[in-house]
């Protein structure tokens, strides 16, 4: 599985990527929307994990841009806020089951990633 992690906190995404790699999941990371777009144009990913609040291009807008580039790409949102407003926005875009609140448990993240990829394979 190839996963792209997008969050403006580089320490968060780099460590999360390292922990996913230790579990056999290939994870790349970037800290802003522009780099995420370049990455998705250059490489195939199964799932993009996006922070809702990103500098310049927000997570919701970024999801739409990435989906336009790769229609089969799956999305998972994560946020530090956990506010109803963010939950509603994330749920609308990715479904209420694909929205995680930081701090994220790695097992929970992997479960969501596997569910998304397996759902794609069944379809």
């Amino acid at each position: 599985m190839n996963v792209l992690l997008v969050d403006d906190e580089d320490q968060l995404v780099s460590t999360l990527a390292e922990r996913l790699e230790l579990r056999g999941i290939h994870a790349s990371w970037v800290t802003n929307g522009e780099d995420a777009i370049l990455m998705v144009k250059a490489r195939e990913f199964d799932v993009a994990v996006l922070d809702v609040k990103l500098p310049k291009i927000g997570g919701i807008e970024l999801k739409r841009k990435l989906a336009a580039i790769r229609p089969n790409l799956k999305f998972l949102f994560m946020t530090g806020h956990g506010s109803q407003e963010d939950f509603d926005a994330g749920s609308r875009e990715a479904g209420k089951d694909n929205y995680l609140v930081k701090p994220v448990r790695i097992e929970e993240l992997i479960e969501h990633l596997l569910n998304l990829v397996q759902a794609e394979q069944k379809a």
Binding site: E18, R19, P103
Partner: protein, 231 residues
């Protein structure tokens, strides 16, 4: 003209308090988001240490440098969280005294710290340009901070990503001036000034302050009295 109802009068009188509550909410939300991020990073580093320990138990050697690096990162995030909490505490206490003598350059630095996340999210850089080391005004500290926040927030929201906002303060004949400067504006300065005035009117009134465009420098210039009249 029909006389104002008592509820209309009450809303007008409450306007600074409503502004203040909105300000308190916005800053609290920003601080809580920053704290959540620091905690999330500590969580990942702690998780990584667990992962490395589990691998070591299974016979894979652990690089001591990697352990030290992770511990250093945890310590950095603890320091970061401590700084955020100190700012939160200072902000919460800014409402303790209705009127107080405040060091304006110090308040400007504090404002920049409070607004840093908002600026970063908009791709804007805040630069401090305080020329005088220290000078004071007697004012309503919470409402002044609220007014400064509104000016900076409005500017950040109306300027293009990548812009730099310069922020400074100087003593003047009336008391003190605080100026906000930004090059490469997409909008006329008057548009930004009007947007600030529209939101800040109750605060300008309660602080006996004024905000104008400085015709010489083109900056948005806020002016506050040395001593607030009804202190």
């Amino acid at each position: 003209m029909a006389p104002s109802s008592s509820s209309e009068v009450s809303v007008a009188e409450d306007a600074p308090a409503v502004c203040g509550l909105q300000f308190f909410g916005a800053v609290s939300a920003s601080i809580s988001h920053e704290l959540k991020n620091a905690i999330a990073i500590v969580n990942e580093h702690a998780g990584l240490l667990e992962d490395l320990a589990a691998l070591a138990e299974r016979g894979r050697p652990v690089d001591p440098k990697r352990l030290k690096q992770t511990a250093t990162q945890i310590a950095r995030q603890v320091q970061r969280a401590d700084g955020i909490i100190r700012n939160m505490n200072r902000f919460a206490h800014s409402i303790d005294d209705p009127v107080k003598t405040v060091d304006l350059p110090d308040m400007i630095c504090f404002l920049a710290a409070l607004a840093e996340r908002k600026a970063t999210m908009a791709g804007v850089v805040i630069e401090l340009a305080c020329r005088d080391a220290s000078f004071s005004v007697q004012t309503r500290p919470f409402f002044l901070l609220n007014l400064l926040w509104l000016c900076l927030k409005t500017l950040i929201e109306m300027i293009p990503s990548g812009a730099v906002v310069q922020l400074g303060t100087d003593p003047n004949d009336r008391g003190a001036g605080v100026w906000f400067s930004c090059e490469n504006l997409d909008l006329p300065e008057e548009t930004i000034l009007n947007a600030i005035r529209k939101q800040a009117e109750p605060l300008l009134c309660v602080l006996n302050a004024d905000v104008v465009i400085d015709r010489v420098t083109g900056c948005i210039a806020l002016s506050v009295p040395k001593i607030i009249c009804d202190a």
